[in-house]
């Protein structure tokens, strides 16, 4: 099961290394990790998605994160209501698909074409992971030349 963990950390150099080092040293797997500064410039938020069925490992991940001196708080959003988003950029070949068809295809998931050349289009999508997967499957046949994604960021409701 995927768990979305949101950690507030001191915005200091080396914090990312401490966290990624913790995951590798203890053999925890990270699905994705996104970092950015918050409304307070001294604080960054890390959104970490981990995939584990084992409650004990999840518990250890949270505790070990909390134990790091530069980590201020750790919240498992999975147990609350939250909005999760991920930004993806696709570079789609226009050999097999026309631009207008591509526009129709992505409209349903509220994607955007942000740049086109004669040969390819760059598509942007900010969505939940299921929508991203769905769009990727549709674009696969047309030919996705490149894909880059940010990993999930999340914010709690209330």
């Amino acid at each position: 099961m995927k768990h979305t963990i949101s950690a507030l950390v001191e915005n200091k150099f080396g914090v990312l290394a401490r966290i990624s080092g913790l995951f590798s040293a203890r053999g925890f797997n990270i699905d994705s990790l996104a970092v950015g500064v918050t409304e307070d410039p001294q604080v960054s938020r890390m959104t970490i998605v981990v995939n584990t069925k084992d409650e004990r490992i999840l518990e250890q991940i949270k505790k070990q994160l909390n134990k790091l001196i530069d980590v201020i708080t750790v919240i498992d959003l999975t147990k609350r209501e939250f909005i999760g988003r991920e930004l993806v950029l696709f570079k789609v070949s226009l050999d097999k698909i026309k631009k207008t068809n591509l526009a129709k295809l992505i409209k349903r998931v509220e994607g955007k074409i942000i740049k086109t050349t004669s040969k390819e289009a760059i598509v942007e999508l900010s969505a939940e992971q299921d929508d991203i997967k769905e769009l990727f499957n549709k674009l696969k046949d047309a030919g996705v030349k490149e894909l880059t994604r940010t990993g999930r960021i999340a914010i709690s409701i209330n």
């Binding site: 290394a17 518990e59 505790k63 134990k67 001196i69 530069d70």
Partner: protein, 554 residues
């Protein structure tokens, strides 16, 4: 003030009396100020010796140990010592020089990324990039090292930061939003635990190094006596509870007593205090204490439910929580029946060894115990010597058994003994060593002699890397692959350093040699030629349930 002066002023204000270390290019400005400082500096002969000495000092005194090394190789030589302290939660500050800030990342001469290298073996670490941040960083570092679950903190200081000028501003208080250890147990959890304890029929108290760190020995004794429950300790918990107490079961685990292990396996309630269910304690985890509920008291929440599932976790300081529990428990459990089983195990499987005309290592330890009235601080290396020292000396007080438990660092004991002796000059400090591990940091004989740190070294010399040989004997068909190890003439070696060496080849010479070493006002090394194939028993083979012991069961 310049950075080096600020650093030394901070150390003084933190109460640092002694620093162990070694100079080098990237700490020249600091050593220049150290030249006129009134903090005692002990020049070791290897940086690893400095790290272990700072650790031994911390374990013996409860204060923060401090070591210094230069950048690059000096700093990497501290690494084993830092990792050793980290595994055993020892408060230590490691100060390392670093190349100038503008050279960092350029592969400069003697540059190594020490904050990177030590990230997973320190409680926290710092690279100080501005002299202005030095005082607050050092204050924070001591706070982190010595509170909560203690541990080593490394401060990496570039040369230009040591030279840079700044006003000295001493932060009176440390307030960190991201670091707030819990000290008192949650009252709800205390109530739940007390209820469970009152109902228990076969309780066992399992005490670890956390008791010693917290200074909770007195509370532990009161608590145990109130419950009339048997108590077992871990290697790190040796000395937390008097060995000769009627409620004591001795050490548990791989080389623990049979009765401690049987008691754990039959218990219906384990009260773990400041212990972490290490694999050397639990053996096969799926079969560990199958009938027991577990109360786990620890200051580190991450230690709880890490290895075993815990029924009642209580996060906080052992001393406080035991105090809270002593108040809360109104009806102690009825343990009379339980003690009948325990007595039966004690009678059936006492701790014993077969004495002979050869020198048995157990006999040597017993003689050291008698000669010192159990009042000495014993440091150990790692392996058979460490286990025999744990089993055959009766410890009465906390901070008297100094040993690398978690990391199992060979070469630890002698420099740690040196640090302990510096911290406790009025105590006899004896390193119980093997002929393998003593060769790993033997250079510190020079430090001892030069600084008149009169440590005694008892080498249990069997010509083998004994513990590895024991495993090869038992589990690898006696194929003694590279465990037969030669050694120098230890007597001559000691003498060449200006220390005293004594060779003991006969059983009747054991006690006189010990007596002589204790009377000698110098560092003394005794080379006891012990029965070479003596094993440490009882023993639980790795990965087995802890009641499946072999050997030494009479």
């Amino acid at each position: 003030m310049n950075g080096s002066e600020i650093l030394l002023e901070c150390l003084k204000r933190e109460g640092v009396e002694v620093i162990f270390g070694y100079p080098g290019g990237s700490v020249l400005p600091l050593f220049d100020k150290l030249y006129e400082s009134d903090i005692r500096f002990i020049l070791t002969r290897h940086e690893q010796g400095a790290a272990h000495a700072a650790d031994g000092y911390a374990r013996a005194t409860g204060k923060v140990g401090v070591c210094i090394a230069t950048s690059g190789p000096g700093a990497t030589n501290l690494v084993t010592g830092i990792a050793t302290a980290h595994m055993d939660s020892i408060p230590m500050i490691a100060i390392t020089g670093q190349v100038k800030t503008f050279l960092i990342g350029n592969d400069a001469f003697q540059e190594a990324d020490l904050t990177g290298i030590t990230r997973s073996i320190t409680k926290h670490n710092y690279l100080v990039k501005d002299t202005k941040e030095l005082a607050s960083t050092i204050r924070e570092a001591f706070h982190i090292a010595s509170t909560g679950r203690p541990g080593p903190v490394l401060i990496d200081i570039p040369v230009d930061v040591q030279i840079g000028e700044s006003d000295f501003i001493w932060p009176e208080e440390v307030n960190m939003r991201s670091y707030q250890p819990t000290f008192f147990g949650h009252p709800g959890q205390i109530k739940k635990a007390a209820r469970l304890i009152s109902k228990a029929k076969k309780p066992v108290i399992y005490a670890g190094g956390g008791i010693i760190i917290s200074g909770a020995s007195h509370e532990l004794k009161t608590f145990t006596e109130k419950l009339k429950a048997p108590l077992t300790w871990t290697l790190m918990g040796i000395g937390a509870f008097p060995s000769d107490h009627e409620l004591s079961l001795g050490m548990l685990g791989m080389h623990g007593t049979a009765y401690a292990n049987h008691a754990i396996m039959e218990s219906d309630l384990i009260i773990a205090v400041g212990a972490r269910f290490d694999d050397r304690v639990t053996g096969k985890i799926d079969e560990f204490a199958p009938h027991a509920k577990i109360i786990h008291i620890d200051i580190d929440p991450a230690s709880i439910s890490k290895n075993v599932k815990v029924d009642i976790p209580i996060v906080g300081d052992a001393k406080n929580i035991l105090g809270q529990l002593i108040e809360e428990i109104k009806t102690p459990p009825k343990t009379l029946e339980w003690f009948k089983s325990i007595e039966a195990w004690k009678n059936k499987h006492p701790m014993t060894y077969k004495d002979s005309s050869k020198i048995k290592p157990q006999y040597v330890i017993e003689q050291i115990y008698e000669a010192t009235n159990g009042e000495a601080i014993i440091a150990t290396e790692v392996g058979q010597n460490q286990m025999w020292a744990a089993q055959w000396y009766n410890y009465k007080y906390p901070r008297t058994y100094i040993s690398s438990g978690g990391l199992g660092t060979m070469g630890y004991g002698f420099p740690a003994a040196m640090g302990a002796k510096v911290g406790c000059p009025d105590k006899e400090v004896i390193d119980i060593a093997g002929d393998g591990s003593i060769q790993m940091n033997i250079q510190e004989l020079a430090t001892c002699v030069c600084n008149k740190i009169n440590v005694k070294i008892a080498i249990l010399n069997n010509g083998y890397l004994g513990m590895v040989r024991q495993w090869q004997e038992l589990f690898y068909k006696k194929r003694y692959s590279h465990t037969c190890i030669s050694h120098p003439d230890f007597v001559k070696l000691a003498e060449s350093f200006g220390a005293v060496g004594i060779l003991v080849e006969k059983k009747e010479d054991v006690r006189p040699a010990i007596e002589k070493s204790l009377k000698t006002d110098n560092t003394v090394l005794i080379d006891f030629r012990i029965d070479p194939e003596e094993n440490v028993f009882p023993m639980v083979p790795a990965g087995q349930a802890i009641n499946r012991m072999i050997g030494g069961m009479a």
